[in-house]
Protein backbone atom coordinates (compact mmCIF):
# COMPACT_ATOMS: atom_id res chain seq x y z
CA UNK A 1 0.00 0.00 0.00
CA UNK A 2 1.38 3.39 -0.97
CA UNK A 3 -0.03 6.70 0.18
CA UNK A 4 0.66 9.97 -1.61
CA UNK A 5 3.36 12.27 -0.23
CA UNK A 6 0.85 14.86 1.01
CA UNK A 7 -1.11 12.17 2.85
CA UNK A 8 2.01 10.82 4.53
CA UNK A 9 3.03 14.33 5.44
CA UNK A 10 -0.39 14.98 6.96
CA UNK A 11 -0.07 11.83 9.08
CA UNK A 12 3.43 12.74 10.24
CA UNK A 13 2.38 16.30 11.11
CA UNK A 14 -0.68 15.19 13.05
CA UNK A 15 1.15 12.47 14.94
CA UNK A 16 4.14 14.68 15.78
CA UNK A 17 1.81 17.36 17.15
CA UNK A 18 -0.51 14.94 18.94
CA UNK A 19 2.46 13.45 20.74
CA UNK A 20 3.09 16.90 22.30
CA UNK A 21 -0.46 17.84 23.34
CA UNK A 22 -0.96 21.57 23.92
CA UNK A 23 2.51 22.44 22.60
CA UNK A 24 3.51 24.29 19.43
CA UNK A 25 5.45 22.20 16.97
CA UNK A 26 7.84 23.94 14.59
CA UNK A 27 6.77 23.49 10.96
CA UNK A 28 10.33 24.13 9.79
CA UNK A 29 11.61 21.28 11.94
CA UNK A 30 8.99 18.88 10.62
CA UNK A 31 9.78 19.86 7.01
CA UNK A 32 13.45 19.20 7.63
CA UNK A 33 12.90 15.94 9.49
CA UNK A 34 10.84 14.47 6.67
CA UNK A 35 12.83 16.03 3.86
CA UNK A 36 10.05 18.09 2.27
CA UNK A 37 9.80 21.75 1.29
CA UNK A 38 8.33 24.22 3.80
CA UNK A 39 5.91 25.22 1.03
CA UNK A 40 4.55 21.67 0.62
CA UNK A 41 4.15 21.27 4.37
CA UNK A 42 2.38 24.65 4.67
CA UNK A 43 -0.18 23.48 2.10
CA UNK A 44 -0.83 20.30 4.05
CA UNK A 45 -1.12 22.22 7.33
CA UNK A 46 -3.63 24.59 5.76
CA UNK A 47 -5.84 21.64 4.83
CA UNK A 48 -5.50 20.17 8.34
CA UNK A 49 -6.35 23.61 9.74
CA UNK A 50 -9.51 23.80 7.61
CA UNK A 51 -10.50 20.40 9.04
CA UNK A 52 -10.07 21.76 12.58
CA UNK A 53 -7.28 19.32 13.33
CA UNK A 54 -4.45 21.84 13.85
CA UNK A 55 -4.14 25.51 14.83
CA UNK A 56 -1.32 27.22 12.99
CA UNK A 57 0.46 30.38 14.00
CA UNK A 58 1.99 32.49 11.25
CA UNK A 59 5.14 34.52 11.33
CA UNK A 60 8.66 33.68 12.29
CA UNK A 61 9.00 30.09 13.44
CA UNK A 62 5.60 29.14 11.98
CA UNK A 63 4.40 26.67 14.58
CA UNK A 64 1.24 24.61 14.85
CA UNK A 65 -0.64 22.71 17.54
CA UNK A 66 -2.86 19.61 17.43
CA UNK A 67 -6.48 20.57 18.10
CA UNK A 68 -8.38 17.34 17.40
CA UNK A 69 -9.37 14.47 19.67
CA UNK A 70 -6.56 11.89 19.46
CA UNK A 71 -8.78 9.19 21.01
CA UNK A 72 -11.37 9.45 18.27
CA UNK A 73 -9.55 10.77 15.19
CA UNK A 74 -8.68 7.80 12.96
CA UNK A 75 -5.99 7.43 10.32
CA UNK A 76 -8.85 7.20 7.80
CA UNK A 77 -10.23 10.60 8.90
CA UNK A 78 -6.86 12.14 8.00
CA UNK A 79 -6.19 10.11 4.84
CA UNK A 80 -9.54 10.77 3.19
CA UNK A 81 -8.92 14.53 3.35
CA UNK A 82 -6.04 13.99 0.92
CA UNK A 83 -6.90 11.03 -1.28
CA UNK A 84 -9.58 8.52 -2.11
CA UNK A 85 -7.91 5.19 -1.40
CA UNK A 86 -10.86 3.17 -2.69
CA UNK A 87 -10.78 4.77 -6.12
CA UNK A 88 -8.29 2.52 -7.91
CA UNK A 89 -10.05 1.60 -11.13
CA UNK A 90 -8.78 -0.84 -13.71
CA UNK A 91 -8.05 0.31 -17.22
CA UNK A 92 -11.38 1.63 -18.57
CA UNK A 93 -11.05 -0.39 -21.78
CA UNK A 94 -11.16 -3.73 -19.93
CA UNK A 95 -13.30 -2.81 -16.95
CA UNK A 96 -16.50 -4.32 -18.26
CA UNK A 97 -15.07 -7.63 -19.48
CA UNK A 98 -15.32 -10.77 -17.33
CA UNK A 99 -11.60 -10.54 -16.74
CA UNK A 100 -11.77 -6.84 -15.87
CA UNK A 101 -14.55 -7.50 -13.36
CA UNK A 102 -12.70 -10.40 -11.75
CA UNK A 103 -9.57 -8.27 -11.30
CA UNK A 104 -11.63 -5.36 -9.98
CA UNK A 105 -13.15 -7.71 -7.41
CA UNK A 106 -9.76 -8.81 -6.11
CA UNK A 107 -8.55 -5.19 -5.93
CA UNK A 108 -11.64 -4.14 -4.05
CA UNK A 109 -11.10 -7.01 -1.56
CA UNK A 110 -7.68 -5.51 -0.81
CA UNK A 111 -9.07 -1.97 -0.59
CA UNK A 112 -11.78 -3.02 1.87
CA UNK A 113 -9.19 -4.51 4.20
CA UNK A 114 -7.03 -1.39 3.95
CA UNK A 115 -9.98 0.89 4.68
CA UNK A 116 -11.15 -1.16 7.67
CA UNK A 117 -7.59 -1.03 9.02
CA UNK A 118 -7.29 2.76 8.65
CA UNK A 119 -10.75 3.26 10.16
CA UNK A 120 -9.94 1.24 13.27
CA UNK A 121 -6.63 2.90 14.22
CA UNK A 122 -6.90 6.17 16.10
CA UNK A 123 -4.06 8.65 16.55
CA UNK A 124 -3.91 7.61 20.21
CA UNK A 125 -3.65 3.93 19.25
CA UNK A 126 -0.82 4.78 16.86
CA UNK A 127 1.00 6.77 19.55
CA UNK A 128 0.67 3.76 21.87
CA UNK A 129 2.28 1.60 19.16
CA UNK A 130 5.21 4.01 18.94
CA UNK A 131 5.54 4.01 22.72
CA UNK A 132 5.49 0.20 22.87
CA UNK A 133 8.13 -0.07 20.14
CA UNK A 134 10.36 2.42 22.01
CA UNK A 135 9.95 0.53 25.28
CA UNK A 136 10.83 -2.80 23.71
CA UNK A 137 13.89 -1.20 22.06
CA UNK A 138 15.17 0.17 25.36
CA UNK A 139 14.55 -3.11 27.19
CA UNK A 140 16.58 -5.11 24.64
Amino acid sequence: MRLQTSTMLALYSIIEAASHPGKQVSAAEIAERYGVSAHHLAKVLRELGRAGLVDSSRGAGGGYRFSGNARRLTLMDVIERFEDIGARSPDPGTAQTDLGLAIARVLSEIDEIAKATFRSITIETLLKLVERARRSETSE
Binding site: A51, R72, T74, I121, T122, T125
Partner: protein, 173 residues
Protein backbone atom coordinates in the same frame (compact mmCIF):
# COMPACT_ATOMS: atom_id res chain seq x y z
CA UNK B 1 -20.96 1.00 6.13
CA UNK B 2 -21.28 2.40 9.67
CA UNK B 3 -23.41 0.14 11.88
CA UNK B 4 -25.58 1.19 14.82
CA UNK B 5 -22.63 0.68 17.10
CA UNK B 6 -20.20 2.90 15.20
CA UNK B 7 -18.20 5.37 17.25
CA UNK B 8 -20.54 8.23 17.99
CA UNK B 9 -18.16 10.91 19.21
CA UNK B 10 -17.13 13.22 16.38
CA UNK B 11 -13.48 12.96 15.42
CA UNK B 12 -12.73 16.58 16.24
CA UNK B 13 -14.40 17.01 19.61
CA UNK B 14 -13.11 16.22 23.07
CA UNK B 15 -14.71 13.30 24.93
CA UNK B 16 -15.54 13.19 28.62
CA UNK B 17 -15.45 10.32 31.05
CA UNK B 18 -18.07 9.76 33.72
CA UNK B 19 -16.80 8.85 37.18
CA UNK B 20 -17.60 5.16 37.52
CA UNK B 21 -18.35 2.73 40.33
CA UNK B 22 -15.82 0.01 41.16
CA UNK B 23 -15.90 -2.79 38.65
CA UNK B 24 -15.26 -6.40 39.62
CA UNK B 25 -14.49 -9.04 37.02
CA UNK B 26 -15.29 -12.63 38.02
CA UNK B 27 -16.33 -15.96 36.45
CA UNK B 28 -19.96 -16.09 35.35
CA UNK B 29 -22.58 -17.70 37.59
CA UNK B 30 -25.91 -19.17 36.54
CA UNK B 31 -27.75 -16.17 38.00
CA UNK B 32 -25.94 -13.80 35.58
CA UNK B 33 -27.17 -15.48 32.41
CA UNK B 34 -30.34 -13.45 31.95
CA UNK B 35 -28.31 -10.21 32.04
CA UNK B 36 -25.65 -11.61 29.70
CA UNK B 37 -28.35 -12.62 27.22
CA UNK B 38 -29.86 -9.12 27.41
CA UNK B 39 -26.45 -7.43 26.88
CA UNK B 40 -25.73 -9.65 23.87
CA UNK B 41 -29.20 -9.00 22.42
CA UNK B 42 -28.65 -5.25 22.82
CA UNK B 43 -25.28 -5.46 21.02
CA UNK B 44 -26.14 -7.95 18.29
CA UNK B 45 -29.87 -7.32 17.84
CA UNK B 46 -30.57 -11.06 18.13
CA UNK B 47 -31.97 -12.90 21.15
CA UNK B 48 -30.20 -16.28 21.37
CA UNK B 49 -31.29 -17.83 24.65
CA UNK B 50 -30.46 -21.47 23.79
CA UNK B 51 -27.04 -20.52 22.47
CA UNK B 52 -26.10 -18.78 25.72
CA UNK B 53 -27.33 -21.66 27.89
CA UNK B 54 -25.23 -24.01 25.79
CA UNK B 55 -22.17 -21.71 26.09
CA UNK B 56 -22.68 -21.41 29.82
CA UNK B 57 -22.75 -25.17 30.07
CA UNK B 58 -19.54 -25.53 28.04
CA UNK B 59 -17.58 -22.49 29.23
CA UNK B 60 -19.09 -21.20 32.43
CA UNK B 61 -19.09 -24.13 34.79
CA UNK B 62 -16.31 -24.40 37.37
CA UNK B 63 -13.03 -26.22 37.03
CA UNK B 64 -12.21 -25.22 33.46
CA UNK B 65 -8.51 -24.72 32.70
CA UNK B 66 -8.78 -23.68 29.08
CA UNK B 67 -12.19 -21.99 28.78
CA UNK B 68 -13.14 -18.67 30.31
CA UNK B 69 -16.49 -16.94 30.58
CA UNK B 70 -16.19 -13.80 32.73
CA UNK B 71 -18.53 -10.98 33.68
CA UNK B 72 -17.88 -7.44 34.89
CA UNK B 73 -20.12 -6.41 37.73
CA UNK B 74 -20.76 -3.15 39.55
CA UNK B 75 -23.31 -2.57 42.28
CA UNK B 76 -24.89 -6.00 41.72
CA UNK B 77 -25.56 -5.59 38.04
CA UNK B 78 -23.67 -7.19 35.17
CA UNK B 79 -22.15 -4.53 32.90
CA UNK B 80 -20.50 -6.79 30.36
CA UNK B 81 -19.00 -10.17 29.59
CA UNK B 82 -16.10 -11.77 27.76
CA UNK B 83 -15.69 -15.31 26.57
CA UNK B 84 -12.69 -17.16 25.23
CA UNK B 85 -10.56 -20.28 25.30
CA UNK B 86 -7.13 -21.68 24.68
CA UNK B 87 -7.01 -23.34 21.27
CA UNK B 88 -4.32 -25.90 20.50
CA UNK B 89 -2.46 -26.25 17.22
CA UNK B 90 -5.10 -24.91 14.88
CA UNK B 91 -3.67 -25.03 11.37
CA UNK B 92 -0.29 -25.77 12.87
CA UNK B 93 -0.08 -22.64 15.03
CA UNK B 94 1.07 -23.10 18.67
CA UNK B 95 -1.60 -22.90 21.40
CA UNK B 96 -2.99 -19.41 21.80
CA UNK B 97 -5.83 -17.62 23.58
CA UNK B 98 -8.95 -16.87 21.54
CA UNK B 99 -11.51 -14.24 22.49
CA UNK B 100 -14.73 -14.97 20.67
CA UNK B 101 -17.28 -12.81 22.44
CA UNK B 102 -17.26 -9.48 24.24
CA UNK B 103 -19.99 -6.95 24.89
CA UNK B 104 -20.62 -4.15 27.35
CA UNK B 105 -24.03 -2.75 28.24
CA UNK B 106 -24.55 0.28 26.01
CA UNK B 107 -25.06 2.67 28.93
CA UNK B 108 -21.78 1.53 30.51
CA UNK B 109 -19.52 1.83 27.45
CA UNK B 110 -16.39 3.96 27.12
CA UNK B 111 -15.87 3.74 30.85
CA UNK B 112 -13.12 1.14 30.85
CA UNK B 113 -15.31 -1.96 31.39
CA UNK B 114 -14.23 -3.59 28.11
CA UNK B 115 -10.56 -2.99 28.93
CA UNK B 116 -10.95 -4.58 32.38
CA UNK B 117 -12.71 -7.63 30.92
CA UNK B 118 -9.95 -8.10 28.37
CA UNK B 119 -7.20 -7.62 30.98
CA UNK B 120 -8.84 -10.29 33.14
CA UNK B 121 -9.10 -12.88 30.37
CA UNK B 122 -5.50 -12.15 29.29
CA UNK B 123 -4.40 -12.93 32.85
CA UNK B 124 -6.27 -16.24 32.63
CA UNK B 125 -4.62 -17.03 29.29
CA UNK B 126 -1.20 -16.21 30.73
CA UNK B 127 -1.81 -18.57 33.64
CA UNK B 128 -2.86 -21.23 31.15
CA UNK B 129 0.62 -20.89 29.63
CA UNK B 130 -0.03 -19.22 26.29
CA UNK B 131 1.79 -16.17 24.95
CA UNK B 132 -0.53 -14.91 22.25
CA UNK B 133 -4.15 -13.87 22.02
CA UNK B 134 -6.28 -13.67 18.90
CA UNK B 135 -9.75 -12.65 17.93
CA UNK B 136 -11.87 -12.36 14.81
CA UNK B 137 -14.48 -9.80 13.97
CA UNK B 138 -16.30 -8.58 10.89
CA UNK B 139 -14.54 -5.92 8.83
CA UNK B 140 -17.38 -3.44 9.25
CA UNK B 141 -17.54 -3.74 13.06
CA UNK B 142 -15.45 -0.64 13.51
CA UNK B 143 -16.32 -0.31 17.19
CA UNK B 144 -14.98 -3.74 18.13
CA UNK B 145 -11.98 -3.33 15.79
CA UNK B 146 -11.12 0.07 17.32
CA UNK B 147 -11.42 -1.41 20.78
CA UNK B 148 -9.07 -4.34 20.11
CA UNK B 149 -6.65 -2.06 18.24
CA UNK B 150 -6.59 0.33 21.20
CA UNK B 151 -5.54 -2.60 23.36
CA UNK B 152 -2.52 -3.24 21.15
CA UNK B 153 -3.84 -5.91 18.78
CA UNK B 154 -2.50 -5.97 15.22
CA UNK B 155 -3.51 -7.99 12.14
CA UNK B 156 -2.66 -11.68 12.54
CA UNK B 157 -0.82 -13.53 9.77
CA UNK B 158 -4.04 -15.24 8.67
CA UNK B 159 -6.65 -14.47 6.05
CA UNK B 160 -10.16 -15.67 6.78
CA UNK B 161 -11.82 -17.20 3.72
CA UNK B 162 -15.36 -18.32 2.95
CA UNK B 163 -17.62 -19.47 0.14
CA UNK B 164 -21.18 -20.51 -0.44
CA UNK B 165 -21.53 -24.28 -0.44
CA UNK B 166 -22.04 -25.54 -3.97
CA UNK B 167 -25.67 -26.50 -4.59
CA UNK B 168 -26.32 -30.24 -4.49
CA UNK B 169 -27.08 -31.65 -7.95
CA UNK B 170 -30.77 -32.39 -8.35
CA UNK B 171 -31.75 -30.05 -5.50
CA UNK B 172 -34.43 -27.82 -6.96
CA UNK B 173 -35.13 -25.73 -3.85
Amino acid sequence: MPGPDSPATPAGSASHRQPRPTIRVRPIEAGDLAQVIAIDAEASGIDKVDYWYELFHRYGTRGRQQRFFLVAEAEDSVLGFIIGEVRDWEFGSPPCGWVFGIAVRRAARVGGVGSELLAAILENFRRAGVEKVRTLTTRDNNLVLSFFRSQGMMAAPFIPLEMDLPAVKGDIS
